[in-house]
Amino acid sequence: MPLLEINGLHATVDGKPILNGIDLVIEAGEVHAIMGPNGSGKSTLAYVLAGREGYEVTAGEIRYDGKDLLEMAADERARAGLFLAFQYPVEIPGVAGTTFLKAALNAIRGHRGESPLDAMQFLKFVREKAGALNITDDMLRRSLNVGFSGGEKKRNEALQMAVLEPKMAILDETDSGLDIDALKLVASGVNALRAPDRSLLVITHYQRLLDYIVPDYVHILADGRIVRSGDKLLAVELEEKGYGAFVGAKAA
């Protein structure tokens, strides 16, 4: 049984059709990359999967881990292991990164039937993960994402993913804004998460990320449809030819 199965998905935002029939199957353990021009609907797909309000599914269905995903509220999906690294992480003034992450982790642990971590256990766990991403204690203490640089925000998303250990992680342009060193750190953090029971959906504009996080499949999204799917070589081809060669083409 696939971990995620999307069939004929149509979605609108403010009455405007954005996704126009998406089919996508992700088996457990697979890494899929989605590439596509600006405005093609990549983030919209991510939000629909995460259950954001205002993104209306007008047709199609999504099954996640054997369940009807569209029946689940956003927080239920998160607790069931679906994680979205935001393209634009949100600022929450006054809330320390650790406070936030601890609340999130314990909510998810509770759902899994695990006992909550206490302050000491949590701090130890987070510091380990933060160290690997070069995130300082100071950054953990500061208000969540407030005044963080673009790259810091993205590293912070990667940290949250590492701590929450999702089953299905969607990374929406997590590489954008990262410098070369940070890109490698984040990529190795993502690779460390790769496991037979865990899947990744990586949204990116750059083939370079896929050198580090090597995908099993690459899909090209244009006008709310997957117009072409292939293996990692598709990304290389895309890099050479640009979207022009694919947009308007029929799904392969």
């Binding site: 995460a50 309000e53 935001f86 006054g94 936030f100 909510a107 969540l144």
Partner: protein
Amino acid sequence: MAVTSETLAQVKSVTEDGYKHGFVTDIEMERTAKGLSEDTVRFISARKNEPEWLLEWRLKAYRHWLTMPEPQWAKVSFPPIDYQDSYYFAAPKSDSDKPKSLDEVDPKLLETYAKLGIPLLEQEMLAGVAVDAVFDSVSVATTYKKKLGEMGIIFCSFSEAVQEHPELVRQYLGSVVPYADNKHATLNSAVFTDGSFVYIPKGVRCPMELSTYFRINAENTGQFERTLIIADAGSYVSYLEGCTAPQRDEHQLHAAVVELIALDDAEIKYSTVQNWYPGDEEGRGGIYNFVTKRGACRGRNSKIAWTQVETGSAITWKYPSCLLIGDNSVGEFYSVAITANRQQADTGTKMIHIGRNTTSTIISKGIAAGRADQTYRGQVKIMASAEGARNFTQCDSLLIGDQCGAHTVPYIETHNPTARVEHEATTSRISDDQLFYCMQRGLSAEEAVSVIVNGFCKEVMRTLPMEFAVEAQKLIGISLEGSVG
């Protein structure tokens, strides 16, 4: 690190989910007949075995009260109060032979505290807090008295202070809030039944947080607490006040008076967590909380800091204030006020600068949800004598939903050109982006709101003593339950 929930294990939280304090303990009450008259005042005074001067003072207040109109300026509305429909005195039956220790306390009472999660017996051990528990106007238990007594600290019920330390009471009672101050305070002066009294002698630093849990019980009993705290020269005290109330159908009037006096180089920190029953979603049955709190920085370099977390009551009318009389004295006011459903709050502070180089800081965080309405009303007054006075005010409002309101009404009055007064105000809303972000990380909508609101209030929360902060943090979450989704 900021206060987090793990300390909850140490300090038992007052509430679990929702308002669970909706029970009335059936301890027999001894009370006056309903209604208010000179006889009521005499009855209370006689019942408490008070000296003549105090009875006279009460009567003076009562007679003045009859002539006073209700204050009309606050932005709250409610039907006229029928003062004749209340009881003005209720004491637990066992009043005559007061317990010497907790062992002698009515087990029913202890049970009530246990239900509230206020483990008196464990309190000493856990938090090192001496508790003077007021159950319906009469103190039933005082701990740590001996240890404090050895340092010359007096911490007792107000009635006890009247008997044991009449000279101190007589000297300071009404010296900060005169009996004719305002309608609510005047009523309190006439019919107050009990409260707390604290005296910290010269140069003594009170080694523990002094704490009183107020609790209203008995239906239809107006509650009139009187608190008087005196910090003598060079002393320091931190005082905590918190309260819960059982659910009921009728509105309940509460008109407390708190007077603080800080002499030379003395410091008083007064923290309140208030979660009285706010009424149901339509506002029925909640407490009317009309409180007069005022501190006088009489001495040079003296300091008074008010911190309050207000989540309860149907109507709150409250302006903890500082009279900055001594040169270089400091007044601070940190406030979090949360109103949800039909709650109304009109709260704020007054900083009256009289002495030279006096400074005041006001940080107010207001959160409104549902159809609640709240107003911050702050007055900063710089008298001609207050050479070099400074004030900084910051007022932030956070709105949840689009049917609530928040208003900021600053009054600034300066009679000295050397004064510097700064005022900053912001209004924001919890955004859908923030809610979705939190929920995408696994938090329920309610947990998300709680996290965001606690972040918004952080500057105030960190001024609370630890054990209070934990409780307050949890209360914030509870009081906003049901306000999203």
